[in-house]
């Protein structure tokens, strides 16, 4: 049966020894073909003039004052091979016009209606500032800002203004000195606003989020503290039981339990039991002799005594006596 799926590592790419050998050149040729190369060049070539196009504002910032007058601040790229540049103003009612070139000279400007003729003489960037009175209209208590902007721009609204209508999406918004600053995209924009006492637009969502984070964080901290306290208390309460359980797992009773069960043990025997207990419940008789510096016979008697009491049991290990604490002493009782 012929497989319909061709494996990526075809047999052709395997060497004589069956080793997978991949040539980087062939992958590169496959991935980047000549057409792609030409397309890349065309894209780059097409984008260069777009990037170096003139007369488009780099920055455009507007500030609306309380009386609806607007301060315009803009930076424009101009053709450095021209002697003049004609700037289209956003209206004819302007004042306080200042134009500065990239050489930091204050430039001569002739304003005729909506346009300003600026002597540039090889300048490539102009910084223009002026105040305009044509962008905001007022009807009753309602103020309306309208602009057909050639580029994205920022708009700082007056203090205590509250937006009640918009025809464009704001790209961004921030609060500067209790004033709303919107970043808006190019094109026609109309914004209606009233003056109120409830502005600037509070960052309610962010505040809510922040509050939410605090609540969630607090709950997590409380839960963690609760768990820690619970575990600690549990450890405290269950320690003896657990200890007994652990000892039982190792077939060893707790030392206190042993002594409770065998209250008549001799003091020297108790010392032996303690040592065996601390030695993981078992010890060679020879170890006990060395530890307690007892003669062989004395130690033998002591071990036999403990065996009779049912505290220990004796096993043979490598021809030696291995003394082990007994388990289930209660059962023995």
């Amino acid at each position: 049966m012929i497989s319909l799926i061709e494996p990526i590592q075809s047999k052709k790419s395997l060497g004589d020894d069956g080793i997978l050998f991949v040539r980087n050149d062939s992958i590169f040729d496959t991935m980047v073909k000549t057409t792609f190369l030409i397309a890349s060049m065309i894209i780059v070539a097409a984008m260069l003039p777009i990037q170096s196009s003139f007369s488009s504002p780099r920055d455009l910032d507007l500030i609306i004052y309380q009386d609806g007058s607007t301060h315009v601040s803009t930076e424009i790229d101009v053709d450095p091979f021209l002697t003049d540049y004609e700037l289209n103003l956003f209206g004819s009612a302007i004042d306080n016009l200042v134009v500065v070139g990239d050489n930091e000279f204050l430039l001569d400007v002739d304003v005729i209606d909506n346009s300003a003729l600026i002597q540039t003489f090889g300048l490539s960037v102009l910084t223009i500032e002026y105040d305009i009175h044509d962008l905001v209209s007022k009807q009753g208590k309602l103020w309306t800002f309208s602009l057909d902007s050639p580029s994205d721009f920022t708009l700082l609204l007056p203090k205590n203004s509250a937006i009640v209508g918009m025809t464009n999406f704001p790209i961004d918004m921030e609060i500067i000195n209790d004033q709303n600053q919107l970043t808006l995209s190019s094109g026609k924009t109309e914004i209606d606003y009233f003056f109120s006492t409830t502005n600037p637009i509070s960052d309610t969502k962010t505040e809510t989020d922040y509050f939410l984070y605090v609540i969630v964080g607090g709950i997590i901290v409380i839960i963690l503290i609760g768990i820690i306290i619970f575990v600690r208390n549990r450890q405290k309460n269950l320690n003896p039981i657990e200890q007994i359980q652990i000892n039982q797992k190792n077939n060893i009773l707790d030392i206190e339990t042993i002594f409770k069960l065998k209250p008549d043990l001799r003091e020297d025997d108790k010392e032996l039991v303690k040592f065996i207990f601390n030695n993981q419940g078992e010890a060679l008789e020879s170890e006990l002799r060395k530890k307690f510096l007892q003669p062989r016979t004395t130690m033998w008697r002591a071990v036999k005594r403990l065996e009779r009491e049912g505290v220990i049991e004796i096993e043979k290990k490598d021809l030696q006596n291995l003394v082990k604490l007994r388990k289930n002493m209660e059962g023995e009782e």
């Binding site: 890349s40 984008m47 009386d67 053709d79 004042d95 000279f105 009640v164 209508g165 409830t198």
Partner: protein
């Protein structure tokens, strides 16, 4: 070498395209601002409606308000579902409804007034002084780059502005004289700056023309090689000499006029001066 060339091209493409991609990403920045604006507008409209109509809101406005209110609710839901396109539609619908309401309410009160300088009724002196102060600061920054002795003038202007603000706070009405005084000083400062820049500006303009005429000269040499009519070439050469002479006499505006003539001539013989 081939790999290197391909790598450079790929880098160029991504380098060229990436700034525009960043801008698009920026445009999608924090869609929650839509909800914040719409919610605030909603509250403002409710306040206005309560203030103007109380409990007797006209039916057409009520319908519009319900439309806007529901759009704000839908906007909230769209945002919680991360449906940005729907959120945008909701935002526009809400803001459009609120805009219609506010315009209906405004229409009933007064006619449209475009705010102008001459319109004394809408004159807000605080705004006027704010704007004036901004203008003063701009000129102050520019003047520091020139050898002008206008520091004392600026101190005087700042004192006058201070005085104006005090007068406005106290409700006096003699501010027009003060504003006119400030404007006169500002005009004088501006003229001082322009005059002090004449020499530097003239040098700058001459350097600009030198560069430009040098390019024209090279183009004329090429035109000669291309067998362009010698009369036209001689005419262009004469215009270049005329511009240089006018510049040496500091007659910038005349030089500009002749330069325009030269530019036109070069265009006619098929050579644009705009060499980029």
């Amino acid at each position: 070498m081939k790999k290197l060339a391909l790598f450079v091209i790929i880098v160029l493409i991504f380098g060229t395209i990436s700034p525009s991609l960043t801008n698009h990403a920026y445009a999608q920045n924090d869609p929650n601002i839509l909800l914040r604006i719409a919610t605030q507008a909603d509250k403002q409209i409710v306040n206005q409606l309560n203030g103007v109509y109380g409990d007797q809101i006209p039916n057409n406005i009520k319908i519009l308000y319900d439309k806007g209110y529901l759009a704000v609710k839908s906007l909230d839901q769209s945002l919680s579902k991360d449906d940005i396109e729907k959120a945008k539609q909701d935002f526009l619908l809400a803001m459009n409804s609120f805009m219609q309401i506010s315009r209906i309410m405004a229409q009933s009160s007064e006619k449209v007034v475009v705010v102008t300088v001459s319109d004394k009724s809408n004159r807000n002196l605080t705004s006027e002084i704010d704007r004036l102060e901004k203008y003063v600061k701009t000129l102050e920054i520019i003047s520091k780059k020139y050898n002008t002795d206008v520091e004392s003038d600026f101190i005087k202007i700042h004192d006058l502005i201070q005085e104006l603000r005090i007068q406005i706070n106290n409700g006096y009405v003699t501010y027009d004289d003060l504003i006119n005084e400030i404007k006169i000083i500002l005009d004088s400062i501006k003229n001082d700056i322009l005059e002090s820049a004449i020499k530097q500006k003239s040098d700058f303009i001459k350097r600009f023309f030198d560069r430009l005429l040098d390019r024209v000269d090279k183009q004329l040499t090429k035109a000669q090689d291309d067998n362009v009519d010698q009369i036209q070439i001689d005419k262009a050469t004469a215009l270049i000499l005329e511009i240089k002479e006018l510049l040496s006499k500091n007659q910038i505006n005349s030089a500009k006029v002749v330069y325009s003539e030269l530019k036109e001539l070069m265009k006619n013989i098929g050579y644009s001066i705009r060499i980029t």
